[in-house]
Symmetry: C2
Subunit: 420 residues, 2 copies
């Protein structure tokens, strides 16, 4: 019996099922819709549907909008708690309060609305305005998610090219911290490799050079415990539709540390960030705290879906979730090991727990075709250019047995590919 | 029998019911949910719920998101027509194509997504960048909707106060067109008075001075025929949740005339406006046409609701809709006439058809309290500071008998108020 055979023997599956039997998060799976015959390893692109969302959407559409009409903007504004409906005016703040504990923030440091891209623009504008004028460099990872780069390019063009967007390899970030850098724009977990930067360490080092930090938590929030205030972070954004399961294109969130709230300016100043929107004043006076970063009328339908989805986290200890995430990804890497010996697969995710998020990625020369074969077999991961197979693990709805099934599918797809 | 009594006599109601019997849009009312016992005169704040929306939302949530998961971003991309589902990547373009004929635009001149406020920012940035550098004035109506003013204030602050936002009374706009003006930022129909500016005339006069125009169609799109290209308009934005009935906080739209698309720049450049988002290139290359103004991941739930809502317009002749709107508002003004003689009501909406949209507003010294009493009676209009009672009329779901009922309610509320 080879190593390979041993790993795939039923005894391995039983051992994994034994782990699942003691999984403190096992009951969470029943809170999601997961299609039959699919192992969904793409919750880091679009989180699965929490079962409470469709009924919430139906209620918001038929009763709050259809039945109560405009009265829903202000009705029930004294109610609170997860069952609270209507009071659409404060819905962004209620959602912010649910996200805050997941990222180590205070509720008034978080604003919810708009896309991650637009929120990056808001924070870049605020942070550049706060930085000393001689600091002209926006330091970023050359492998940062493209929209982060694009938004910085667009803002810089709007400001007449005053700044230099400097993309450097992740390993060189620290060496590039200097007095000419205004801010760092970094994504904690790389969307391709799953490599996780040292958020607290880099923040402290940046501060040592007088540099402000903007962290993109797209692949962090809801995936593991994040402690922005513990790390002394300045600004952050994150995604509502990946590990927070808020639905396709769910509203994004942003974070502005309390100590910056007087000096940071909301340049995208819309009426819903005004201290009193219905005063209809001619001049913008910002609302207290992060609420000033809410710009236009909240997208109530999408925002309500996110609000309902976040209730999934109400009874989840993020430390326990992280432990399970590591167990799932360790198991995956271990089961994939023999396949790496046989096929042209290269692990690009660090093995070290501290250096990764909740995904595991491999390079493969025919990655695009491989992922198509996998999807055909019901193993839903992601292809990412140029040659990355990306597998996201969501401890809320994955079991160790799912990991086993996924690797079985990958093995079959590799065999189908004819050994390459 | 006084004039007053005659107007409220049953014979008046029968005449109105006779008009309703010949209403070519009467069948459209059945396509909306309208609560019993309510006359909803606030469709210019939040349009009523089209009955197709809840089932569309349920399908998008349960099947497209819950069942097909990330596959819905690209699945069915060859399908078309109003029944087309999934293909979320092109959903913004499909919605844009439905809005285009309502505003006299070509589909590739329209982009859908983000809030009206954010879209105003995009267009202000693009237009200011195109204007000659010596033009430093942004000309606007002092009574423009506050978020239009706020967004201009924020952008100007971001640009170091380089520009002057010059708010002037509507009557003085024309006199203020000059070589120092970069652009006009105007809302076609005033949100308080319902006064409608001459979009085509002002555009032509602005162009005569080399000035670019940005039109806010919040109270125009879906309320009456708009012909942007006929007027030679440069840029426009509009609202998805008023007369387009897309739901609370529905995505907004923007318009960039074809002739400007090469020179106007999308400074809020996000990955969904890239020519090939999944190429994951490091530099932003804009998509063709207005699609480049789509920034982040589309809010699929809210956008799907708007998509379904727009189908209501598929069989509507906007000329017929406008004729009915004028008949409804003329009737309202006529029935209100005797009440103006008895109570401190001042009509602030022009009587001239060309000078108004689909709302009628009155000043009243206790407008806030009056509107509370009206809402208590099921007559849902809006109070707007400082002293405006605003009544919006939606020809898709209002009858002349509704107008009669509304005036009955207003009469009773005025009597309840003790004659003041």
């Amino acid at each position: 019996m080879t190593v390979f055979d041993r790993l795939f023997a039923n005894s391995t599956l039983s051992q994994l099922q034994e782990k699942d039997a003691h999984d403190p998060l096992a009951h969470k799976r029943a809170e999601f819709k997961l299609p039959e015959g699919v192992v969904y390893l793409d919750g880091n692109s679009l989180g699965a549907l929490p079962l409470t969302v469709p009924s919430r959407l139906a209620r918001v559409a038929e009763e709050e909008w259809g039945g109560q009409l405009i009265r829903s903007w202000t009705a029930n504004s004294s109610s609170s708690g997860t069952g609270a409906a209507q009071d659409w005016m404060n819905l962004p703040d209620r959602v912010a309060a649910k996200i805050a504990p997941l990222i180590g923030a205070q509720p008034h440091e978080v604003a919810v609305g708009d896309s991650t891209s637009v929120n990056i623009f808001k924070l870049l504008a605020a942070a550049l305005h706060m930085a000393a004028p001689e600091r002209r460099v926006i330091l970023t990872d050359a492998d940062n998610f493209p929209t982060d780069l694009y938004m910085a390019q667009g803002l810089n063009a709007l400001l007449g090219g005053r700044y230099e967007l400097r993309p450097v390899p992740g390993a060189n970030l620290e060496a590039n911290l200097s007095g000419e850098v205004a801010l760092t724009l970094l994504t904690e977990v790389d969307y391709r490799t799953g490599h996780r930067l040292d958020l607290a360490g880099l923040t402290a080092k940046a501060h040592g050079h007088g540099i402000l930090t903007i962290w993109d938590l797209a692949h962090s929030a809801g995936a593991f415990p994040v402690d922005l205030n513990g790390a002394g972070a300045d600004f952050a954004v994150g995604c509502g539709y990946k590990f927070l399961n808020g639905g396709p294109g769910a509203p994004s969130f942003l974070f502005v540390a309390e100590r910056h709230q007087d000096s940071a300016q909301a340049f995208l100043s819309g009426w819903m960030g005004h201290v009193d929107p219905f005063e209809m004043a001619r001049d913008f006076t910002p609302a207290p705290g992060a609420r000033r970063y809410v710009v236009g009328t909240p997208t109530v339908l999408s925002l309500s879906a996110l609000d309902a989805a976040l209730d999934v986290f109400a009874d989840v200890d993020m430390t326990v979730l992280r432990a399970k995430s590591l167990s799932l990804t360790d198991t995956f890497m271990e089961l994939m090991e023999p396949l790496m010996a046989q096929y042209p697969l290269t692990l690009v995710t660090p093995r070290n727990h501290d250096e990764r998020g909740s995904q595991v990625s491999y390079q493969h020369p025919q990655a695009r075709e491989m992922m198509e074969r996998l999807i055909g077999r019901g193993i839903l991961g992601d292809f990412r250019t140029p040659d990355i197979l990306r597998f996201g693990f969501t401890p809320l709805y994955h079991s160790h047995a799912d990991v086993w099934r996924a690797v079985q599918g990958i093995k079959a797809a590799l065999e189908e590919g004819g050994g390459t």
